[in-house]
Amino acid sequence: MVPVSIQVRQALSKLVLPVLLLMSVGIIIAGQADRPLADRARMRVADVLAPFWNLLSRTQTDSERLVHGLKEARNLSEENHRLSVENANLRRWYEVAVSLARENDALKTELHWVPEPTPAFVTGRVVADSGGIYARAVLLVAGTSSGVQTGNIALAANGLAGRVTEVGAHAARILLITDIASRLPVELESSHATAIMVGDNSPLPRLLYYSQDTRPIEGERVVTSDQAGAFPSGIPIGSVHYLHPGQPVVQPFARLDRLTMLRVFDFGQSEIEPPEAPGHVPLTRPHRALTLPFKTLLGPGQEG
């Protein structure tokens, strides 16, 4: 240390505080004048301290977990009791289910029931659609190489999601039921009345063309109908909800805004060919069907 007299040292020690105060005022002004510099200094300090903070927060989460574990341990016997009661209840239901299944089997055997084919399905991951003509469509990573075909039906975890419209070798585009191009024949479950579910690019597709004496009831389940032969009947879609009086919509069970996985089912619907009925004239011929209505819309003599 530099040898200085006691007087000088005392004078210096008295000066320290005012000098430091002035310095802090200077730092305040400098920090206000050059904010990026201050922010850089902050970031550097934060960088150095980050491991300590990490340690602290990890300790905290660990101790919270420990406390939580202890709390759970205290409730363990209670939880055990509840679970064993529930288990007994479920066992009872299991017995009921088994006996019902056996009874069902027996009845089907009595009736010489033709068993329905089990549908084959593949599951794929949904990736966002990058393009296409539809507003509400998703791309699935599963294509013809995994057996997906146009017209297959895509189901989310708990309801119908859409239909396969285009298939590539490793990807399939699925038109969601909310798209404006989607029109599905549906059935109202409690009344068995049919209707058409029309997408309008909103999350809630509308119900149209239901018969006026069996109106959809709020909360009623909506399932697919096999009217046009595109869908097997009874696949759950959603429930009826009235946005306004006289304007029923369907709240889909599937969470169509955040799809991650879809199962694509091949119900083999196209293989069911109705037998030829003698004397029955087919209504539509594949090539002339489109041209006819437009011609009839024009007046006679206006063609060409």
Binding site: Q10, S13, K14, V16, L17, L20, L21, M23, S24, V25, G26, I27, I28, I29, A30, G31, Q32, A38, A41, R42, V45, A46, L49, F52, W53, L56, S57, Q60
Partner: protein
């Protein structure tokens, strides 16, 4: 205002100290600063302590005031300045504001220490309450000044109340600590 700790030092001539004693003394002098730095690191960590943003300045002001009054050798001005700067860098106050406020608190404590030492605990607490409230108000005023619009004064009130409320607890702890240190010092 001469250095009050000078007599205690002088009769231990520095040349006669062993390295162990010197280390011990250094540690003793650094202890309050290190404690404050650790408190700052702890409270600026992303741990969910209710009122951490207000509790930190309260504890730091308490610590600095206490040591400035009772043992200034443990809390030199430079350490106060560095601690304030560290607090600013770690927190979100404008750079230098905490340093300024803490230096003011330190200066007041240092200046009034001989008067304060003679008073009883409750009076010291009352006077410290004034200092703490003034510090919180000054911080609020400076923050308003730099943001150029009137901020909600509720956090400043909360901080002042915490500052006053924490004092007995910290004061008792530090006094006990000083007692232990002094006992060890005089065998």
């Amino acid at each position: 205002m001469s250095d009050p700790h000078q007599p205690r030092w002088d009769h231990n001539a520095e040349t006669q100290l062993t390295s162990r004693q010197r280390l011990d003394r250094t540690a003793r002098h650094l202890l309050p600063s290190v404690f404050t730095a650790l408190v700052i690191i702890f409270f600026s960590a992303p741990v969910t302590i209710p009122g951490a943003a207000e509790l930190l300045p309260a504890i730091v002001i308490n610590t600095i005031f206490f040591w400035s009054v009772w043992r200034p050798s443990g809390m030199p001005s430079l350490a106060v300045f560095l601690l304030g700067l560290f607090m600013d860098l770690v927190g979100f106050t404008p750079l230098g504001v905490s340093a300024f406020i803490l230096l003011l608190v330190h200066g007041i404590g240092n200046y009034a220490r001989f008067g304060l030492m003679r008073l009883n605990f409750l009076l010291v607490w009352c006077l410290f309450g004034l200092v703490g409230a003034a510090a919180a108000a000054l911080q609020w005023a400076l923050a308003c000044l730099f943001r150029l619009h009137l901020l909600d004064p509720a956090p400043a009130f909360f901080e002042a109340l915490l500052c006053i409320g924490v004092y007995p607890l910290l004061s008792a702890t530090f006094s006990w600590f000083l007692h232990i240190l002094d006992e060890k010092d005089t065998p």
